[in-house]
Symmetry: C2
Subunit: 243 residues, 2 copies
């Protein structure tokens, strides 16, 4: 019988310690918006992303050559920063060859939480190439939803379902994980109109500004696709070679 790799879905960063095994590949998800922003920035030519945990740390890069700094807390861009957590801050901006220093409410924290594992980031921009890579990589997988301040959120869970559905199309994976089953069900319910599906979600309740709505449309149905897999190495995300 074919030996199958395991898939787990961890709905919240608070629970990651129960899933961590130092061995699995961890796929970080923060669909609204950090991992979508990361995919966007790479696709538009950024060289590396340094995820930092505090605003203070991000500011230490302020005048460093070839670096741009971005900070978001509670959905809003922080004063003093050129960039925030909106993909549109990067589109039509000259970021080619630069390094992005990024701190966000949830996503960048999740990357640091998992960094003793092999860590990659995923979004609807690069979902296909990430699924292909995971199918070829022959390793167990933990899908880590960044959630909201350690709690469950709907948008990361549906993306977890979307990627797990793709992974299970191959016979390389199995799972005994109820949160994976739930994620696939949730994605199945929302499929076709994820924006409406999230209309009552906590994220949409927190900030329903025109710009966040525009970002949400982009992150759920991106007009840019990416074949880049950001992988965390030596304190920064770089492009995984060979993909």
């Amino acid at each position: 019988m074919l030996s199958q790799n395991n898939i787990s879905v961890c709905f919240t960063t608070d629970q990651f310690k129960k899933y961590a095994d130092e061995r699995s590949t961890v796929v970080i998800i923060d669909i609204l918006r950090a991992t979508s922003v990361i995919s966007t920035a790479f696709e538009l030519g950024i060289e590396a992303v340094i995820p930092v945990q505090t605003v203070k740390e991000a500011l230490t890069y302020k005048n460093k050559e070839n670096h741009i700094i971005a900070a978001e807390r509670n959905t809003l861009k922080i004063k003093g920063f050129d960039y925030g957590n909106s993909p549109y801050h990067y589109i039509n901006s000259d970021i080619k060859g630069k390094t992005l220093v990024l701190t966000t409410t949830n996503g960048t924290k999740a990357i640091h939480l998992a960094k003793s594992h092999k860590v990659i980031t995923a979004s609807f921009l690069n979902i296909n190439i990430v699924a292909k890579y995971l199918q070829e990589d022959n390793n167990d997988i933990i899908i880590l939803c960044s959630g909201w301040k350690g709690m469950f959120n709907l948008e990361d869970s549906i993306f977890a379902g979307a990627i797990c559905e793709k992974l299970l199309e191959s016979d390389k994976f199995s799972s005994k994980c109820d949160s994976m089953l739930a994620a696939i069900e949730l994605y199945g319910s929302g499929r076709g109109n994820l924006f409406n599906y999230l209309s009552n979600s906590a994220y949409r309740n927190r900030n329903n500004s025109d710009s966040v709505i525009k970002d949400t449309h982009f992150c759920l149905n991106p007009t840019i696709k990416s074949n880049i897999i950001p992988i965390f190495t030596d304190g920064k995300l770089i492009k995984l070679k060979g993909y």
Copy 2:
């Protein structure tokens, strides 16, 4: 504008500290099987249920007059105990007027975790009366899924969805809780055939014996209904008066 009470759904006992507020009514769910057993036992005439956290503590009640003791770990009844965590251990058994001392893998632990709040237990046996009570009680509500060893499980989540759907039929509640939305979606997907819906769940994978399958059918579609609301007072669950 009518002041509405809040509903939160906490998917795992590990996360309860994020929801706890000492003020809300906490509804404990352990559908397979502790809270279903508790409803069954009350409906069949038990006077009180003492939920204890350890097998050792349960054993101290072994020869106490008018007490019966029950213990389960990892779905199995523990040696030396007359009763386990199956509703059928209580059906056709003479338990009228007795006190049940019960320890289970998840459910009894959840009760203790929440005991600084007003705590009641719910199952598909007493879902209607619990929803009616909560609608009349005018308090915020935390639905606490016992889960499995601190992790998300599907069966408690769908029950959370079932009860939240009933609560939202009145205009007395509102919620900004993504886990509530997810629970309602999951219940909606499984509605009509919850047994099949759970066919790939971790619970069913752990123990698929004939007796557990029989229990699962009972807990999801109980042939006994109950208008009793077990409420935790002075270390034990008793019947809430007036319902």
